[in-house]
Amino acid sequence: MLDLKLYNNPVKVTWCPGCGDYGILNAVKSALAQLEIYPHEVLFFSGIGCGSKLPDYVNAIAFTTIHGRALPIAMGAKLANHDLHVICITGDGDGYGIGGNHFLNILRRNPDVVHIAENNMVYGLTKGQYAPTSQRGFVTSTTPEGSIEIAFNPLTTAINGGATFVARGFSGDPKHLAKLIMAAIQHKGYALVDVLQPCVIYNKINTYDYYRERVYKLEEAGHDPADRSAAMQRAQEWGDRIPIGIVYQATGEPTYEDQVAALRAGPLAKRRLAPLGPEQAEALRREFF
């Protein structure tokens, strides 16, 4: 285990006191330390939102991108240098709302990318509008009479869409969450860790207490993550009992990188970049003779 301080940087954290994002930050650092992944070996991507500030607070390579687009940017980076660990941090609006189509598509591709979604069921940074994961009836500044949409379920969507690793954590239990993140990093392929993250300012429904009363651990409930239909069942549970833990995991599926011919000789970014030799050049020209 590496020293946790390795991941500290001097940037001041700007989250509200009590925000669920703190727990996620701690869990992320702890997972990296336990897996002995050095700051220069991991590439973080995030979008825009409260949660997306997380990479700014970790000493590691990072790219804070634009709202909703962390996943395809991360995928491009992974394909350019698959020696690096790639971890995406998105909000729920960011990752499942505006970024919904990229989410659907990364599921089908299975790159070796970890996706941690800070799911506070609200838009935090823009001051409290409803999010795709907001529960029906949720009252916000843009839904004064309550949301009239069915909440987006990231877990069932991920499993149904082809994800090979799907977990849910709770930021109120950072130790458990760290374990999930470790498992996600170790998983070969796309790994979603959806995190129940209380927003203490804009979500007065899905609070720490709300979750503490409801969450239970799948590993203690005899759940077998390899059982897809059981996983779908668990993924649908919501209300009195909310499962956390690894919901689904399929092993042995090839990653996207595994299947690309051009990547067999090692990461693109590490190849020497030089003009083609005269023979290759001539071959290319001859195609047009």
Binding site: T65, I73, A77, N101, L268, P275
Partner: protein, 581 residues
């Protein structure tokens, strides 16, 4: 002389035309091809035309010497383009208004194409081979060249197909020559000097340039007329070690390229206007985070879906100012196929040197038109690869202080480290940030520093950019000014004008943005009569030139009916303007 094949989509107009062009090219002739097709997969009306000459060509021209028509619509729509004394070659069974065609003085060359295909080849679909054979017979181009191409192109379909097509072509040749060669004035003979020539279109040239420059990653979403770049790269991915990814949309396409570019792979995406519209937000991300990425914008007529398979130069000002805020970007618009190659290669160097997005603008016409070119125009092995201030692993090992990703430097360029080195743990950021790359989206002084750095970079880029090309006599009465694909039409128009005694020259811009003011302004000032020649409705380049230099174009030659500018169109419009003046 111009040969045009025309018929429905699916009748092999394009593939047949391309094959015929090859046959001519192998005879040492110089070609320019131009194709038009409809936004549908079968049926409709397409054409492929070949202008052929014993000297290099720069453009298509209006008028067809011989039209090979495979459908009645082809006769109806393109018959009128046949020049006086020209001919219409067609299957004897084709139904159309013979009198109307004859009345225009066009010779009718009916041929038993279907019959030959069926009887000699055993398959009706060889009718188009029969037509090409006949065409060669009429212009008396030696059959061996046609035969060679048939052998080459049908090879993978097996010997029987090769044999069948050869026989059909030969029969077409024989009959047509016998019947019509004598009455057709234009002939094409192979030249004595027949060096290897490349017959290549804009998208192919651009793709070759990208491969030459070490493009390692391409993501894209299909869109006419850009798709063939993605397809070319996909078909060359294995051989040239490129990751090629078709994405869910254009947003993902540019985002993946940005991710790859930032991680150290030379990366590109290609699209047309509608897709570029979707890339606009991420374009700004590349500008702010200073990520090298090459974006090809192959224009077609807008607005919106517009005319998907026609041509236009309507996206200039959009490309220059797309995305919120102000940031460095480079815009290049190659004018010819060889310039497509060079612009692509330069684009990757410029993108990495200046750490910014580079937009290469082409259009349907340039991307699909082929020209014969000497292989020496494509010095693939001599392309320079300049990654700019990219810190090597050794340099990073020796780094004394902390690594500043966005270091404020006199040039505005912050030396780049690729992700992965222990001494260069750093962050890229879309919010305003400090030199480390950390969020600093409040502080005014930091903003002035960082925005100042980026703007300094932008101002310095111009030193790497090129002045417009001048063609024609130095002191001229009329100066044509243009950008991108209009090069060829303008150049031939200049020649025609001078031949007619009008002293004309031209200024052609490939490097558009940052506007090479210092290099261009004196040339523009010097113009006596400045004529902006553009494939759009409003004179966008004229707008830009006026904004940058104050000089207003004296006249505009604009075309926006979906068709490319041609030398004749330019001349006619100039004439008209004179009349109306």
């Amino acid at each position: 002389m111009t040969l045009r094949l025309a018929g429905e989509a699916g009748q092999g107009v394009e593939s047949g035309g391309a094959g015929f062009a090859q046959a001519l090219s192998h005879g040492g002739l110089w070609l320019h091809t131009y194709t038009e097709y409809m936004s549908r997969i079968r049926g409709g009306l397409n054409f492929f035309q070949i202008r052929v000459s014993d000297h290099p060509l720069w453009s298509h021209t209006e008028g067809t010497n011989i039209l090979v028509a495979f459908s009645p619509e082809a006769v109806r729509d393109y018959g009128p383009h046949i020049v006086p004394g020209g001919a219409l070659l067609h299957d004897e069974g084709l139904k159309f208004d013979h009198d109307a065609v004859a009345r225009r003085g066009t010779q009718l060359f009916p041929m038993p194409l279907t019959k030959i295909a069926q009887e000699v080849g055993g398959n009706k679909i060889m009718m188009n081979t029969a037509g090409l054979g006949a065409l060669a017979g009429i212009i008396e181009y030696p059959f061996e060249f046609v035969a060679d191409v048939i052998k080459k192109n049908f090879k993978r379909k097996g010997d029987a197909v090769v044999e069948g097509n050869l026989k059909v072509a030969a029969e077409g040749y024989r009959i047509a020559q016998e019947r019509y060669a004598a009455s057709f004035d234009w002939k094409v003979s192979p030249l004595d000097a027949r060096p290897h020539r490349m017959l290549i279109n804009g998208n192919q040239a651009l793709s070759v340039g990208a491969i030459a420059a070490g493009c390692r990653f391409m993501s894209g979403y299909p869109m006419t007329p850009a798709s063939s770049i993605l397809e070319f790269m996909a078909s060359h991915a294995r051989k040239y070690d490129i990751v090629v990814k078709q994405t869910e949309d254009e947003i993902a396409a540019i985002c993946m390229a940005i991710g790859a570019g930032n991680a150290g792979a030379r990366a590109m995406t290609a699209t047309s206007g509608g897709g570029f519209s979707l890339m606009v937000e991420a374009l700004g991300l590349a500008g702010m985070a200073e990520v090298p990425v090459v974006i090809v914008e192959a224009q077609r007529p807008g607005p919106s879906t517009g005319m998907p398979t026609k041509t236009e130069q309507g996206d200039l000002l959009f490309a220059l100012f797309a995305s919120q805020g102000e940031f460095p970007r480079i815009v290049l618009a190659p004018g010819t196929q060889e310039e497509c190659f060079h612009a692509a290669a330069r684009a990757f160097n410029l993108a990495e040197k200046w750490q910014c997005p580079v937009i290469v603008m082409t259009d349907f016409y340039l991307t699909t038109s082929m020209r014969t070119l000497l292989p020496s125009e494509f010095p693939i092995e001599h392309v320079t690869i300049d990654r700019g201030e990219l810190l090597t692993s050794e340099q990073l090992d020796r780094l004394a202080g902390p690594y500043l990703r966005y270091k404020d430097t006199p040039s505005g360029i912050s030396p780049r480290a690729l992700p992965g080195h222990p001494k260069a743990v750093h962050q890229a950021c879309s919010d305003e940030h400090d030199e480390y790359g950390h969020f600093e989206d409040e502080d005014a002084a930091n903003r002035l520093k960082m925005a100042g750095k980026r703007m300094r970079k932008f101002r310095n880029i111009v030193e790497d950019l090129r002045a417009p090309t001048i063609y024609g006599p130095e002191r001229a009465e009329v100066t044509l000014m243009g950008w991108g694909s209009s090069y060829g039409a303008m150049r031939e128009a200049v020649d025609l004008l001078n031949a007619r005694g009008v002293r004309a020259n031209m200024l052609h811009f490939v490097d558009l943005w940052p506007f090479p003011e210092a290099k261009a302004a004196p040339l523009i000032e010097a113009a006596r009569q400045l004529v902006a020649v553009e494939g759009n409705q409003t004179g966008q380049f004229a707008h830009l030139v006026r904004a940058m230099t104050g000089r207003r174009a004296d006249r505009l030659v604009l075309r926006w009916d979906g068709r490319p500018l041609s030398p004749e169109y330019i001349l006619a419009t100039l004439e008209e303007a004179k009349v109306h003046a």
